[in-house]
């Protein structure tokens, strides 16, 4: 069969498939569409093996690849799907990767505690972490006399701080996750640095006697913020591990699997950080809320977060 005969004999079905592709997906007749698609795949294979002219092959590969996209399209978008991912798959994934979460927690909390104790005992140490002006700023931010706790005197708008927290914190969380691809070093750095910084401030402010204001400030939103940073760090460590120790896979294949496994964690952590930013801007900083009320709320939030990761979704 010459290419000319081949084309004359089969062109009708190619045109028909092309016509179907132009139509709305809901109006398609699935049986007819699939039959046409398989037929065109067969024609393409024949045309390639017989070295038929380029325009025949190109036409056939164009329509088959478009039909392929219609047939194998994954429809996993949608609000219900996103909600299920967030409320069920997210905590399940976190539990499955508990070793990484534990490692990330240790990497964040050990420097926090060590540096906090060290700066509490020797407040001058804060100057090896931040410079003098920043230290003075912290002193002013957490003093019981502050107009709004936890922010510089001249910035008094809750909304401004909300925007700042979102832009800053979620950006850091994303970086903490993504830089894990450099053999886990990026995540390692972000976790250790955040731990050192946070511990330093806590110890320094406590040594000045402002501990009450500081701890009641951080208690509530840290339930979401610290957890989210730890989760992003854990995701980053998982990615770093896949690049460093890919096992029997190629590095790229291992990375692809690790990224798919952990992408949900970053998505969930971003949602948690938005919650944290709202609490930090509108609740934690309010001087009119008594520390007792803040601690009660904090206890509630921490229980909520822990239960979410340990218990969701409920065993059926």
């Amino acid at each position: 069969m010459t290419p000319f005969d081949f084309q004359t004999a089969n062109q009708a079905s190619w045109n028909e498939l092309e016509g179907e592709l132009g139509r709305n997906q809901r109006d398609l007749d699935p049986d007819r569409f699939l039959a046409l698609y398989r037929l065109c795949c067969e024609h393409l294979a024949l045309a390639r093996s017989r070295s038929f002219p380029l325009h025949v092959i190109e036409r056939l590969s164009s329509i088959t690849s478009r039909a392929h996209q219609v047939i194998y399209r994954q429809s996993d978008a949608g609000f219900a799907r996103a909600a299920r991912a967030l409320l069920e798959d997210f905590p399940t994934t976190v539990r499955r990767l508990w070793t990484y979460v534990a490692a990330a927690t240790a990497l964040l909390m050990i420097p926090t505690i060590v540096i906090a104790i060290a700066t509490y005992l020797n407040p001058d140490l804060i100057l090896s972490i931040v410079d003098r002006t920043t230290a003075a700023e912290f002193e002013q931010m957490y003093s019981p006399a502050a107009q709004a706790i936890g922010r510089p005197r001249d910035i008094a708008s809750d909304w401004l701080m909300f925007g700042f927290y979102i832009k800053n914190n979620i950006g850091i969380a994303f970086q903490c996750y993504a830089t894990g691809v450099v053999f886990g070093l990026g995540s390692l750095y972000f976790l250790l640095a955040n731990g050192t910084f946070g511990g330093g401030i806590a110890g320094y402010v406590a040594s000045l006697g402002y501990g009450g204001t500081f701890f009641s400030f951080v208690a509530t939103h840290s339930a979401f913020e610290l957890t989210a940073i730890v989760l992003c760090g854990a995701g980053g460590l998982r990615i770093g591990q896949s690049v460093l120790l890919p096992g029997r896979l190629t590095r790229v294949a291992a990375l692809e699997i690790a990224a798919r496994e952990t992408s949900l964690i970053v998505f969930g952590a971003a949602v948690m950080l938005v919650i944290a930013a709202a609490i930090e801007a509108f609740w934690s900083s309010a001087p009119w809320v008594t520390p007792t009320a803040k601690y009660v709320c904090a206890g509630f939030c921490w229980t909520l977060v822990l239960c979410f990761f340990l218990r969701r979704p409920r065993a059926k």
């Binding site: 010459t2 164009s62 690849s65 909304w159 401004l160 979620i170 970086q175 990375l255 690790a258 798919r260």
Partner: protein, 241 residues
Amino acid sequence: MISTIDTVITAETPEGIAISMRAAGFPVRCMAFLIDASIRYMIVSTVAAVLAVGGRVGTGVLLIIVFLILWLYPVIFELMPAAATPGKRAMGIQVMMVNGLPLTPAGCLIRNLMRAVDMLPLLYGFAIVSVLMRRDARRLGDLAAGTLVVYRDRASPKDDFGPGEPLPPPVPLTIRQQTAIAAFGWRVTRLTPERAEEIAVLAADAVPSAKDSAVAARLVGIARWQHGQRRLIPPDSAGQT
């Protein structure tokens, strides 16, 4: 040899055919990025001008919008049916999964989160190195997400031969010779007659002829014959196969 210098990426489907995609390389992606960067800059500066009246609340909202534009601009556009940011669309490229399927939400999210790494150490250094080193021009985010940036439009070769009358091949031809002659027949309209003749002379051994004057026309004739035009066809309907 073509497979080593070409940028065609193939993905096999369950039906056993190979889908081919043309990976978009560094220059075109760089242009797309610059277009997107200027669009983002314009959005941010417009919003900033509008929100300047809003005082501190306005600045807060602006910071949120800067965040959204920084991280979500590509995600939102790539999740639309065109699977491309405005810059990519302008350059005629789009994002696909590496298996030839439309971009999935997870793939889109990962490839854009990984920008945080691709940006390192500065000016998208990692991304540039990765795009230049790999034949499929994928940056780290693409590798992690299993995605690929490809040209949207495919070449559609014309199906008209150059002038010439169908001619049975004088000697039996191998498959390779047949393919080469057919390809010449399709390309000849895009060559100057002199260049066509120059190329055709290379095949003169395979198509011995009495007079060497018009080897190109003879090759086109053989191509027509192979293609299935066994009879003489009036010249005005020659291209209509």
